[in-house]
Symmetry: C2
Subunit: 156 residues, 2 copies
Amino acid sequence: MNVEDCIFFQLAKAGLAGARYWNEQVAALGLTASQAMVLNALRDEDGVSVHRLGDRLRVTGATMTGLLDRLEAMDLIQRKPHLQDRRAIEIFLTPAGRAASEATSALAIAANRTFLADYSLEEQTALRGLLKRLAQTEHQTDDPGGTGPGARKGDL
Amino acid sequence: MNVEDCIFFQLAKAGLAGARYWNEQVAALGLTASQAMVLNALRDEDGVSVHRLGDRLRVTGATMTGLLDRLEAMDLIQRKPHLQDRRAIEIFLTPAGRAASEATSALAIAANRTFLADYSLEEQTALRGLLKRLAQTEHQTDDPGGTGPGARKGDL
DNA sequence: CGCTAATTGTTAGCACGCAAGTATTTTGTA
DNA sequence: TACAAAATACTTGCGTGCTAACAATTAGCG
C-alpha cells in the first residue's frame, strides 16, 4: 500500500492544508490558527473555565495553558480567579480581544466560503458529515489487564 | 458561526483523530505515526534524497531532518553521502528498518480497514476523493509586489 | 575562467498537541 | 471531623511542522 493511499496520511494532510490556509487568513491579525479558534470560541461563551474551553476546542489543558499565555501576553484575554472555586479561573475577552474575536468570526465565515468554493453543495454536506464522524471516532484501546504504555504524540 | 462548524476546525480535528489512532497502532513497534510513514515511504523507494522523501511525505526538509535523526538513532535508517553530488545524501533502510517497514506496512493495511470499518464503500470513495482534493488545495497567496510576511505555523 | 543562481541539507526558534507529574482546592465518605 | 478521592490548572518534556537563516556544493551565463 502506498503511503499516499493511507487514510491517516490523507486525513493529516488535508487537515494541515486547511490549517495553512486558515493561518494565512488570520496572520493579518497577528494571530495563529489556533489562537483565532480560541477567540472564536470565547466570542460565543465568555467567562468560562480552562477545562470547558478545552472541551469545546478538543484540546488538553496543557495546550490551553500555552494558548492562553500567549493570548494574555497580547492583552486579548484575561484570567480572573473564580470567586466560589479557588481552583478555577474564568477567562474573559478584553476589549481588544472582543474586537479581535469579531474580526476572526467574520474571517471564518469568509474563509469557509472561499475554501469550499470549488465544492458542490452535496460534496460540502457529505464532507461535513464525514469529518464530524471521523473527529468523534473513539477506537477504544482494549486493555484487558495489561499496563497500557499510553499513546504517543505526533501529527504526521 | 460556531467554532465546531468551521471547516478548518473540523478538518484539523479529523486529522488529529486519525493520527491518534495510527499512533496507537504503531506504538507497539516503538514508533510514532510520522516515523512509521517515513518507513512506509522508504519501503517503496530506497536510496532517495531528503528532498525527494520530503516531497512524497509533504513535509519540509527541516522536518525531515528531525525525523531522520530519530530514525537513525534507532538504527532503522542510514544516511550515505551521494557519490556524484556532494551536497546530497541517500537514505537507506537498515536490516532492522526493512523489517520495521514491513511491519508498519502490514499495520497500515489493517488499520485502514479497521478505521474505516464503519463507513460504506460509497462513503469511503467519497472521503478519499474529497481528502485528496483538499490536501492538494493551493490557495495561492496573491502577493502583488508586497513583501509577504510569510505564513504562520500552528495546527489548531 | 569567474561570478552569480540555485540547490541541498542542516540549524535555530517558534507554536501546537500530547502524556505525565505537581500543587492547590474541593468533594465525598466514613 | 478527618481522610481519601476527585477536580482544576499549571509545569515539564517530547515529537512534529513551519519559517528563516546558514554553509556547502553545483549549475548557469557572461
